[in-house]
Symmetry: C2
Amino acid sequence: MKCRKCGGKASVNMRQHKLALCKKHYLEWMPEQTERFIKKYEMFTREEKILVAVSGGKDSLALWDILARLGYQADGLYIGLGIDGVSPSGEEFGYSSESQHLTQKFADERGLTLHIVDVEKEYGQPIPVLADITHRGKGRPCSVCGLAKRHVMNRIARDLGYAVLATGHNLDDEAAVLFGNTLNWLGEYLLRQGPVLPESPGLARKVKPLCRFYEREMAAYALLRGIEYIYEECPFAKGSKTIYYKELLNQLETECPGAKLTFYLKFLEVRKQGLFVEQDNAQAHLKPCPNCGQPTSAPGLCSFCRLMERAMDISA
Amino acid sequence: MKCRKCGGKASVNMRQHKLALCKKHYLEWMPEQTERFIKKYEMFTREEKILVAVSGGKDSLALWDILARLGYQADGLYIGLGIDGVSPSGEEFGYSSESQHLTQKFADERGLTLHIVDVEKEYGQPIPVLADITHRGKGRPCSVCGLAKRHVMNRIARDLGYAVLATGHNLDDEAAVLFGNTLNWLGEYLLRQGPVLPESPGLARKVKPLCRFYEREMAAYALLRGIEYIYEECPFAKGSKTIYYKELLNQLETECPGAKLTFYLKFLEVRKQGLFVEQDNAQAHLKPCPNCGQPTSAPGLCSFCRLMERAMDISA
């Protein structure tokens, strides 16, 4: 395989794009494409302050790297979830400590600004314990984790004046979520999923600049750029529906290269063309949570503050 | 496993319905359910004449059997496609002759009325030759076959005064088609797929009374009822996208029993609730084909008559 740009030895072959590139041109192609997607979906401008949610994984670190290379004002936010300990089978894992270490190192080496929020320090307990004591999520802390991350991201963006929250979701992530929402025809989620969720009173705009890159393209970028990232998935993600959907979509992709991208892009296209009946703006019904001030559709406290209240009642 | 109705030994265990039944009760359950679906989707009444498209396979013969048992006025239509011959690998196959024989035998043994249309006799060439000489469908006769079957079914229903055309599509068929249409977000097809396609000027209503039964439920019914049917798939169906989608959905079903049914039923539900923007009635733009009189959106001849014209030009 030869690089299409220079004819040299290709490092990355993208069957779905019928494109092969050498290391140098791949590392140029990726930010160029990202810039194209940022413009196409009107994600943000160079005048806006962007908060990148970084987990220490390849996607979020690569996103931060690309945005910095492109000259955007992108700071990082690392949320310490406290996912460290001993698994039921006796294996020790240090998912959070390892990912925080790599994120900090990444920021230090590049002179980038990183905000760190430690869930245990700020909210009393690490995520697995919060999930455990509140009995939310059927034995998995994933729903509590998602709720806490959203809450913290929104809070930091608001308190520190960031206009935009950027996450490292790649095409495989987005296609898997879309697949799940489609298999169950969850209309409300279908109407909201996309590269940009516009800002609303009290909430920063949310964007996914990597949503059109395959996971393996992101892995190739991180590798070729020499980014040190945490290889392991979160130990609690094992056996999740999303991972199963990713496997099914990978099978489909092997059979029909490009199927994953078509599934996601055609969805965005038909929605834009008006296939779906858009619902009343759900934001109209939001009001600030009396405790944290974040918008909520609940009549009293928001879901996160209710969870924290319950956790404290139980601990007390 | 015990039969839920009588406590005897169960013959069929339906995980997705959490229901096991003995032979006797299974053979009662199936027509009861079919009757329920016919009513629920307002497919037809006992006063209407129904034409059942029978292929000699388990689904269409079981459908005809069930409708006859329920006391509906259901006659059969068998279309001789001429899929007989020698495969490229030298194997002899008699798909059409065998399926016609079994269909005729089924009708004779039960005293049911069967109409037979032989494509070669009426249109000059069997389906594989028609596909071959007109170069339609990339080496597969499936698109020509579908076109010809729709044309013949519509013609016979109109000429012989049938109000309703019933086909034996089961849940696996419907879910696979929906899956393909969803992976590619084919909006127009998504808006039309369903248990009932209403009648329009010149076209009988089309119904799929088995659309909520799993394929294995249909196979169990045919087996327990002692229906002789052709086991082989059409030799041209091998390697088709639809079969591939069925395999993926079967994997999903094994992982999450009921997933296939949920996918199909939730789709019907959200569409009924108005998730999709319904397009202008496409029927408004239909006009009769100047040759055969069937409604078409083409400016001149309908697709079928154009195909036949091309086939005759080439043969001449």
